[in-house]
Amino acid sequence: MGSYLALELRRSLRDRRYLLLVVGWPVGAYLLFSTVFGAAGDRSEGLAPTIAIMVAMAAFGAMGGVLMASGPRLALDRQVGWLRQLSLTPLSPVRVLAVRLITAMTLSLPAICLILLTAAIVKDVTLPLWEWPALVLLIAAGCLPFAAMGIVIGSIADGDGAQGLTMVIYLVLAALGGLWVPEQILPAPLQAVAKALPSYHLAQLGWYVARGVAPAIGDGLVLLAWFAAAALLAVGVSRRLTLRAA
């Protein structure tokens, strides 16, 4: 299982198009947004814009890293018959799915770390020392629902379809979840939608930490509920991955 996990991680980190999309894009967006909206004296989420936007873009990048690493790849692996071949080895289907889940979760890290680093170096963001690792771990852990969503997408859509579907879900979650613009400036009905989305609560977790306070339990619970729902769906549809007998 360990060797399969290592190879999954290695092939993900070797994929330049993937890295450009899930790391390059959020880092670029961070530099743009924090420069445009970073005027001294502005406040957002009770934070300096360079910090508030750092957290939002870290959540955006993490979510993309996880979604793109799970759904589209799983769909492709299914389509080319790799999952079928893998199911004829002693590696059990549950372990295959566990590897995919861990791989996806791990791939939240490059974007988070690079955005935090960019903020610290380019935008002179300073935070109490403990807040840096807390931000990384909390945002990474909060990506669990997206990893499970990826398994659902990879089970039901084919290669190109999965890519498109993932992208749509990614952008909707980012835009409506208040990662690009603060959810307060969205129209009222959309604000209600925002507060139901996992992306919104993922950013909330980070903003709490950046303000130096403990995250509200409610955000964690919403993320857990999304994970439970996606995981339940994944268990139902992952049979389509032909990991085992039909």
Binding site: R11, L88, T89
Partner: protein, 306 residues
Amino acid sequence: MTSETADRSVTSDAVHVDGVSRSFGAVRAVDDVSLGVGRGETVALLGPNGAGKTTTITMVLGLARPDRGTVTVLGMSPEDAVTRGLIGAMLQDGGMMPGVLVGELLAMMRRLFPAPLSLQETIAVAQLEGLEKRRVDRLSRGQSQRLRLAMALIGDPELLILDEPTAAMDVEARRNFWHAMRGFTDRGRTILFSTHYLEEADISADRIVLMARGRVVADGTPSAIKDSVGLRVIRFSVVRPETSGLESLPGVVSASARGNRVELRCRDTDLALRALLSARPDAHDIEVAGIALEDAFLSITDGVAA
């Protein structure tokens, strides 16, 4: 190697398929099929497309469950045999992990099995030398096929299952392939493979299971199968177009007539000819010929239509 082979249990058949049926919608892909493969045997599942070979193989691997009947592999369920790393398989729709190198993929696969071959030996047997650093998605068709073989062999499985393994190969590649397989069976391992080439089954298999339209229509040694098919024919013209009794002449497998021209499918044309001349003095314009293996094979499988 020998001691390791001896350690493994040899109490049951390698493959035991008993009264298995499987339908897809209204189509009965496999219809009451029974077959056995003994340990150390190389058995060919021979038949045209749509005969049910792939479906049978899929059930032997535990990738599909039979609607009826049972499948046992090495004395256990197919799932257990797979979990213990006792089966290696080359599937028609099996694929490679995209985006990794040949060497990386094989090294990873190797660690999934309890008692694998060495990486070097696998690469040598599958003739992949020099391709270790090549991306698996940049291989030619023949190279991909060899990598598939390597993935099937690397666990040093007790039973190797190959679904049309040589379909994409030219004559020389096919010969190399079966040469490599003999190295595998020489160590007491079992092979079940499917093919639609009678010639390949004849040369490579100890036994042929002939399938057509989801059923087993013949099961025996290649020479027995060839005899029952009738690989030589006697054609002649008759005055009375009457074929009854001709089938039972010595050396004759079957008889058919078109107009006043009769064709006898024979396993022994010398014997048949002598008997024919005394039985039917009206036979004239006699011609003895061999027929292509493929034609013989098609005629027997077509005969199962009813």
